[in-house]
Symmetry: C2
Subunit: 230 residues, 2 copies
């Protein structure tokens, strides 16, 4: 530790990787379009400078709200990016956070703060400002890892959903198809889903039963972890 605190200081920002699922169980990420240089008009992760009187997570939450209107979500720290040259003008460190939300329940407030916000499918991304492509890639890897030892879905899916929907979510995240019978057996065996006396409506085939998460079981498994090799 030094004897003084009077060193030149890098700038400190936070960036948010917010994943959302749409009705087609397509995995999307929330981006904003920059209105100012550098990288003017390019798409970027929502984020900005940390103020002196707020924690890192508070800063992430504030920037997300200001730039996209999204608020009230659970953020988890992803990684801190601090290589030289990641911002063309100055030495800037960025602490990245990520979150999972059901995008239907979080309408975007476009053009807040003179920015444009939109959901992009992770299959079809625009070119991103700074090193945000790298940050996003790392967030996707983290999500793929997470899915194997912690339940996901509660944050992403609508409150009532079908088994096929949750299977599609896992297939999307993992990037490969799963066996329907085995997936259901394994999922139901962990006693995490509550079957409802309700069914899908408006489909042109046999209606699927709806389920919801057992919230307390969900939290428990999230803490303890499990093993979901699929």
């Amino acid at each position: 530790m030094p004897y003084t605190y009077d060193y030149p200081r890098p700038g400190l920002t936070v960036d948010c990787v917010v994943f959302g699922l749409d009705e087609q169980i397509d995995l999307k990420v929330l981006l904003i379009q920059r209105q100012i240089p550098p990288f003017q008009h390019q798409w970027a992760l929502p984020g900005g400078f940390v103020q002196m009187d707020e924690s890192l997570e508070d800063a992430a939450r504030r920037e997300l709200r200001e730039e996209t209107g999204v608020q009230g979500i659970f953020l988890e720290q992803l990684y801190t990016f601090g290589d030289l040259g990641r911002d063309p003008r100055d030495r800037i460190i960025s602490v990245a956070y990520y979150a999972l939300i059901n995008l239907i329940e979080y309408p975007l407030q476009a053009s807040t703060d003179a920015e444009d916000a939109a959901w992009y499918s992770i299959e079809n991304l625009p070119s991103l400002a700074f090193d945000h492509a790298q940050i996003l890639k790392q967030a996707i890897r983290r999500l793929q890892g997470k899915v194997r030892y912690e339940p996901i879905g509660f944050e992403l899916l609508p409150q009532k959903f079908t088994l096929t929907q949750i299977q599609q979510l896992y297939e999307t995240v993992l990037g490969h198809p799963l066996d329907k019978r085995n997936f259901r057996k394994k999922l139901l065996k962990m006693d995490l889903l509550i079957p409802l006396d309700e069914q899908q409506t408006g489909v042109a085939h046999r209606a699927a039963r709806l389920y919801q998460f057992d919230q307390s079981k969900y939290e428990l498994l999230k803490q303890q972890g499990f093993n979901f090799e699929v």
Copy 2:
């Protein structure tokens, strides 16, 4: 993103949680004794301010070398701590790194940089400066998680070791005893260890066979992950 970079900036430091195993397979952590306020004479994690022309990991590596003499090890980013008030004088963010080493091979250079460095058993820690107790706790949790889906031991154990030693390592990290026969079956089945035509010497009982890691297999499993529920 803001229109200017001229905000007041928090200070940025790195801290290193270096775990080491001694000959008794006792898990230890590398601490330094602070010679200056705040927290003068208290023990703390090695670390210090990030300079403008070095990456975060380079800074961690430099501070570790300057303060303890330890160098040439693999560091992994742990978490970034940025709550208000974690440093009594100023707003300071710390990016924590952690590492696993075999402490016999990394002799300490005490009193480098006017600091004292020492290994402390994680069972018997002194009171730590700043929020370093919290950082250390998180590092231990991370290690416990890691052990379940990635091989460890290569960095911690001597090059040649017995099955009992690696079992003791797992027992130490996980904090509970393991069944000897099952542990060996599972470990040997993953084809990660190479049995040597050598044995322990100098013990007052039947000498155990020595093993070493198959390095390429080790790296492979580290990337792919595995499942080691024990």
